[in-house]
Symmetry: none
Subunit: 118 residues, 2 copies
Amino acid sequence: MSTRDYTSMKGLGEFIRTQRELANLSLRQLADLAKVSNPYLSQVERGLYKPSAEVLKQLANALHLSAETFFMQAGLLDDDVYKEASDQVESAIKLDLRLTPDQKDTLIRVYRGFVGDR
Amino acid sequence: MSTRDYTSMKGLGEFIRTQRELANLSLRQLADLAKVSNPYLSQVERGLYKPSAEVLKQLANALHLSAETFFMQAGLLDDDVYKEASDQVESAIKLDLRLTPDQKDTLIRVYRGFVGDR
DNA sequence: AGCAGATGCTTGGTATACTTAGCACCTAGA
DNA sequence: TCTAGGTGCTAAGTATACCAAGCATCTGCT
Protein backbone atom coordinates (compact mmCIF):
# COMPACT_ATOMS: atom_id res chain seq x y z
CA MET A 1 0.00 0.00 0.00
CA SER A 2 1.75 3.04 1.24
CA THR A 3 -0.48 4.41 -1.32
CA ARG A 4 -0.65 7.82 -2.43
CA ASP A 5 -4.18 7.95 -3.46
CA TYR A 6 -3.93 11.34 -5.10
CA THR A 7 -7.53 11.42 -6.11
CA SER A 8 -7.13 15.13 -6.12
CA MET A 9 -3.74 15.20 -7.75
CA LYS A 10 -3.15 18.88 -7.90
CA GLY A 11 0.02 20.05 -9.48
CA LEU A 12 2.94 21.38 -7.57
CA GLY A 13 2.07 24.90 -8.62
CA GLU A 14 -1.40 24.71 -7.20
CA PHE A 15 0.00 23.29 -4.02
CA ILE A 16 2.38 26.19 -3.66
CA ARG A 17 -0.31 28.72 -4.38
CA THR A 18 -2.57 27.10 -1.82
CA GLN A 19 0.12 27.18 0.81
CA ARG A 20 0.95 30.76 0.01
CA GLU A 21 -2.64 31.87 0.31
CA LEU A 22 -3.02 29.94 3.52
CA ALA A 23 -0.11 31.87 4.91
CA ASN A 24 -1.73 35.08 3.72
CA LEU A 25 1.27 36.07 1.68
CA SER A 26 1.23 37.94 -1.59
CA LEU A 27 3.17 36.70 -4.55
CA ARG A 28 5.78 39.34 -3.97
CA GLN A 29 6.06 38.67 -0.29
CA LEU A 30 6.67 34.97 -0.74
CA ALA A 31 8.96 35.63 -3.69
CA ASP A 32 11.05 37.93 -1.53
CA LEU A 33 11.17 35.47 1.32
CA ALA A 34 12.22 32.69 -1.02
CA LYS A 35 14.60 34.97 -2.88
CA VAL A 36 13.10 34.49 -6.31
CA SER A 37 11.46 37.01 -8.59
CA ASN A 38 7.74 37.44 -8.35
CA PRO A 39 7.02 36.82 -12.04
CA TYR A 40 8.88 33.58 -11.77
CA LEU A 41 6.92 32.51 -8.74
CA SER A 42 3.75 33.42 -10.60
CA GLN A 43 4.76 31.19 -13.46
CA VAL A 44 5.70 28.36 -11.16
CA GLU A 45 2.34 28.52 -9.44
CA ARG A 46 0.62 28.34 -12.80
CA GLY A 47 2.65 25.33 -13.77
CA LEU A 48 4.68 26.96 -16.52
CA TYR A 49 7.99 26.07 -14.96
CA LYS A 50 9.28 23.40 -12.64
CA PRO A 51 11.35 25.03 -9.95
CA SER A 52 14.77 23.69 -9.11
CA ALA A 53 15.35 21.88 -5.85
CA GLU A 54 17.06 24.93 -4.42
CA VAL A 55 14.02 27.04 -5.08
CA LEU A 56 11.75 24.38 -3.64
CA LYS A 57 13.83 24.38 -0.52
CA GLN A 58 13.67 28.16 -0.21
CA LEU A 59 9.92 28.10 -0.69
CA ALA A 60 9.58 25.40 1.94
CA ASN A 61 11.60 27.46 4.40
CA ALA A 62 9.63 30.60 3.65
CA LEU A 63 6.36 28.78 4.24
CA HIS A 64 7.65 26.97 7.32
CA LEU A 65 7.10 23.62 5.75
CA SER A 66 9.63 20.86 5.46
CA ALA A 67 11.63 20.43 2.29
CA GLU A 68 10.57 16.80 2.29
CA THR A 69 7.01 17.93 1.91
CA PHE A 70 7.82 19.97 -1.14
CA PHE A 71 9.94 17.29 -2.70
CA MET A 72 7.15 14.84 -2.25
CA GLN A 73 4.69 17.20 -3.84
CA ALA A 74 7.10 17.67 -6.70
CA GLY A 75 7.22 13.91 -7.11
CA LEU A 76 10.87 13.80 -6.25
CA LEU A 77 10.54 11.77 -3.09
CA ASP A 78 7.89 9.36 -4.27
CA ASP A 79 8.85 7.02 -1.53
CA ASP A 80 6.45 8.14 1.08
CA VAL A 81 8.13 7.31 4.26
CA TYR A 82 5.59 9.81 5.28
CA LYS A 83 2.25 9.16 6.63
CA GLU A 84 -1.09 9.47 5.10
CA ALA A 85 -2.61 12.88 5.47
CA SER A 86 -5.71 12.01 7.43
CA ASP A 87 -3.95 9.82 9.96
CA GLN A 88 -1.36 12.51 10.20
CA VAL A 89 -3.79 15.24 11.12
CA GLU A 90 -5.62 13.20 13.69
CA SER A 91 -2.59 11.82 15.40
CA ALA A 92 -0.95 15.22 15.51
CA ILE A 93 -4.02 16.53 17.25
CA LYS A 94 -4.07 13.63 19.70
CA LEU A 95 -0.43 14.17 20.54
CA ASP A 96 -0.76 17.86 21.28
CA LEU A 97 -0.42 18.21 25.02
CA ARG A 98 -1.83 21.67 25.06
CA LEU A 99 -5.25 20.49 23.95
CA THR A 100 -7.83 19.15 26.39
CA PRO A 101 -9.61 15.92 25.47
CA ASP A 102 -12.74 17.88 24.65
CA GLN A 103 -10.87 20.20 22.38
CA LYS A 104 -9.26 17.26 20.60
CA ASP A 105 -12.68 15.73 20.05
CA THR A 106 -14.00 18.95 18.64
CA LEU A 107 -11.11 19.44 16.27
CA ILE A 108 -11.27 15.89 15.02
CA ARG A 109 -15.00 16.12 14.55
CA VAL A 110 -14.66 19.30 12.52
CA TYR A 111 -11.87 17.75 10.53
CA ARG A 112 -13.82 14.62 9.72
CA GLY A 113 -16.75 16.76 8.72
CA PHE A 114 -14.59 18.56 6.23
CA VAL A 115 -12.99 15.55 4.63
CA GLY A 116 -16.28 13.69 4.64
CA ASP A 117 -14.61 10.70 6.13
CA ARG A 118 -16.39 7.93 8.01
CA MET B 1 26.89 17.11 15.81
CA SER B 2 24.37 16.07 13.31
CA THR B 3 24.18 12.52 12.34
CA ARG B 4 25.88 12.73 9.02
CA ASP B 5 29.57 12.29 8.55
CA TYR B 6 29.55 10.82 5.09
CA THR B 7 33.14 9.80 4.59
CA SER B 8 34.18 13.40 4.40
CA MET B 9 32.87 16.74 3.38
CA LYS B 10 33.40 16.20 -0.30
CA GLY B 11 31.24 17.69 -2.96
CA LEU B 12 28.22 16.10 -4.46
CA GLY B 13 30.11 15.24 -7.62
CA GLU B 14 32.77 13.30 -5.78
CA PHE B 15 30.09 11.53 -3.87
CA ILE B 16 28.41 10.44 -7.06
CA ARG B 17 31.65 9.31 -8.60
CA THR B 18 32.50 7.32 -5.51
CA GLN B 19 29.13 5.64 -5.53
CA ARG B 20 29.38 4.91 -9.22
CA GLU B 21 32.78 3.31 -8.83
CA LEU B 22 31.58 1.33 -5.85
CA ALA B 23 28.85 -0.04 -8.07
CA ASN B 24 31.40 -0.84 -10.77
CA LEU B 25 29.59 1.18 -13.36
CA SER B 26 31.16 3.17 -16.16
CA LEU B 27 30.19 6.74 -16.80
CA ARG B 28 28.16 5.66 -19.80
CA GLN B 29 26.48 2.84 -17.97
CA LEU B 30 25.31 5.02 -15.14
CA ALA B 31 24.39 7.79 -17.54
CA ASP B 32 22.20 5.39 -19.49
CA LEU B 33 20.58 4.06 -16.35
CA ALA B 34 19.86 7.55 -15.14
CA LYS B 35 18.82 8.67 -18.61
CA VAL B 36 21.28 11.50 -18.92
CA SER B 37 24.12 11.97 -21.36
CA ASN B 38 27.52 10.73 -20.34
CA PRO B 39 29.35 14.00 -20.90
CA TYR B 40 26.88 15.67 -18.63
CA LEU B 41 27.37 13.08 -15.93
CA SER B 42 31.09 13.56 -16.29
CA GLN B 43 30.70 17.25 -15.74
CA VAL B 44 28.44 16.73 -12.79
CA GLU B 45 30.93 14.41 -11.16
CA ARG B 46 33.63 17.01 -11.58
CA GLY B 47 31.45 19.64 -10.02
CA LEU B 48 30.97 21.76 -13.12
CA TYR B 49 27.21 21.58 -12.93
CA LYS B 50 24.65 21.05 -10.20
CA PRO B 51 22.16 18.49 -11.40
CA SER B 52 18.46 19.13 -11.08
CA ALA B 53 16.43 17.26 -8.53
CA GLU B 54 14.99 15.04 -11.24
CA VAL B 55 18.46 13.97 -12.28
CA LEU B 56 19.46 13.41 -8.67
CA LYS B 57 16.46 11.18 -8.25
CA GLN B 58 17.30 9.19 -11.37
CA LEU B 59 20.88 8.76 -10.21
CA ALA B 60 19.72 7.63 -6.80
CA ASN B 61 17.45 5.05 -8.37
CA ALA B 62 20.15 3.83 -10.72
CA LEU B 63 22.55 3.40 -7.81
CA HIS B 64 19.92 1.86 -5.57
CA LEU B 65 20.31 4.59 -3.02
CA SER B 66 17.58 6.65 -1.48
CA ALA B 67 16.73 9.99 -2.94
CA GLU B 68 16.98 11.42 0.56
CA THR B 69 20.62 10.46 0.67
CA PHE B 70 21.29 12.32 -2.53
CA PHE B 71 19.33 15.35 -1.51
CA MET B 72 21.24 15.48 1.74
CA GLN B 73 24.52 15.28 -0.08
CA ALA B 74 23.35 18.03 -2.36
CA GLY B 75 22.62 20.12 0.72
CA LEU B 76 18.94 20.27 -0.09
CA LEU B 77 17.69 18.43 2.93
CA ASP B 78 20.12 19.70 5.51
CA ASP B 79 17.88 20.29 8.43
CA ASP B 80 15.76 18.07 10.54
CA VAL B 81 12.14 19.01 10.69
CA TYR B 82 11.25 20.74 13.86
CA LYS B 83 8.99 18.64 15.96
CA GLU B 84 6.96 21.09 17.92
CA ALA B 85 3.42 20.00 18.47
CA SER B 86 1.79 23.09 17.06
CA ASP B 87 3.85 22.88 13.91
CA GLN B 88 2.89 19.25 13.68
CA VAL B 89 -0.82 19.87 13.81
CA GLU B 90 -0.80 22.88 11.55
CA SER B 91 1.44 21.43 8.91
CA ALA B 92 -0.55 18.21 8.94
CA ILE B 93 -3.64 20.24 8.22
CA LYS B 94 -1.91 22.23 5.54
CA LEU B 95 -0.75 19.05 3.88
CA ASP B 96 -4.14 17.47 3.65
CA LEU B 97 -5.08 17.68 0.01
CA ARG B 98 -8.70 16.91 0.69
CA LEU B 99 -9.21 20.17 2.57
CA THR B 100 -10.02 23.38 0.76
CA PRO B 101 -8.06 26.49 1.71
CA ASP B 102 -11.06 27.82 3.58
CA GLN B 103 -11.41 24.63 5.54
CA LYS B 104 -7.74 24.66 6.42
CA ASP B 105 -8.09 28.23 7.56
CA THR B 106 -11.02 27.36 9.75
CA LEU B 107 -9.34 24.37 11.31
CA ILE B 108 -6.18 26.27 12.03
CA ARG B 109 -8.10 29.17 13.49
CA VAL B 110 -10.00 26.85 15.77
CA TYR B 111 -6.82 25.12 16.74
CA ARG B 112 -5.03 28.34 17.56
CA GLY B 113 -7.99 29.46 19.56
CA PHE B 114 -7.71 26.32 21.65
CA VAL B 115 -4.01 26.51 22.33
CA GLY B 116 -4.18 30.24 22.88
CA ASP B 117 -1.55 30.89 20.32
CA ARG B 118 -1.63 34.12 18.42
C1' DA C 1 -11.96 63.25 -9.57
C1' DG C 2 -6.97 61.81 -8.91
C1' DC C 3 -3.00 59.70 -6.94
C1' DA C 4 -0.57 55.92 -4.32
C1' DG C 5 0.32 51.36 -3.39
C1' DA C 6 -0.78 46.64 -3.75
C1' DT C 7 -2.18 42.76 -6.49
C1' DG C 8 -0.98 39.23 -10.34
C1' DC C 9 0.68 38.87 -15.12
C1' DT C 10 3.42 39.62 -19.82
C1' DT C 11 7.50 40.43 -22.27
C1' DG C 12 12.21 39.95 -23.43
C1' DG C 13 16.43 38.79 -21.99
C1' DT C 14 20.43 36.11 -19.34
C1' DA C 15 22.32 32.14 -16.97
C1' DT C 16 22.77 27.43 -16.70
C1' DA C 17 21.24 22.60 -17.03
C1' DC C 18 21.57 19.28 -20.45
C1' DT C 19 22.55 17.03 -25.35
C1' DT C 20 24.83 15.52 -29.69
C1' DA C 21 29.03 14.87 -32.14
C1' DG C 22 33.41 13.81 -31.72
C1' DC C 23 38.44 13.56 -29.76
C1' DA C 24 42.34 11.10 -27.27
C1' DC C 25 43.74 7.32 -24.73
C1' DC C 26 43.77 2.56 -23.39
C1' DT C 27 43.24 -2.62 -23.67
C1' DA C 28 41.93 -6.90 -26.04
C1' DG C 29 41.53 -9.80 -29.92
C1' DA C 30 42.61 -11.45 -35.00
C1' DT D 1 50.15 -5.04 -36.76
C1' DC D 2 45.56 -2.88 -36.85
C1' DT D 3 40.87 -2.70 -35.84
C1' DA D 4 37.08 -2.70 -32.36
C1' DG D 5 35.20 -1.36 -28.40
C1' DG D 6 35.73 0.56 -23.87
C1' DT D 7 37.17 4.42 -20.93
C1' DG D 8 36.59 9.69 -19.68
C1' DC D 9 36.62 14.39 -21.61
C1' DT D 10 35.93 18.76 -24.85
C1' DA D 11 33.29 21.81 -27.67
C1' DA D 12 29.24 23.85 -29.37
C1' DG D 13 24.65 23.96 -29.49
C1' DT D 14 19.56 23.69 -27.57
C1' DA D 15 16.17 23.85 -23.88
C1' DT D 16 14.62 25.86 -19.89
C1' DA D 17 14.95 27.86 -15.23
C1' DC D 18 15.14 32.33 -13.67
C1' DC D 19 15.34 37.72 -13.59
C1' DA D 20 14.33 42.97 -14.52
C1' DA D 21 11.23 46.16 -16.32
C1' DG D 22 6.91 47.31 -16.88
C1' DC D 23 1.58 46.82 -17.76
C1' DA D 24 -3.42 46.40 -16.19
C1' DT D 25 -6.45 46.22 -12.56
C1' DC D 26 -8.16 47.04 -8.12
C1' DT D 27 -8.71 49.34 -3.61
C1' DG D 28 -8.13 53.07 -0.45
C1' DC D 29 -7.22 57.78 0.52
C1' DT D 30 -7.59 62.94 -0.04
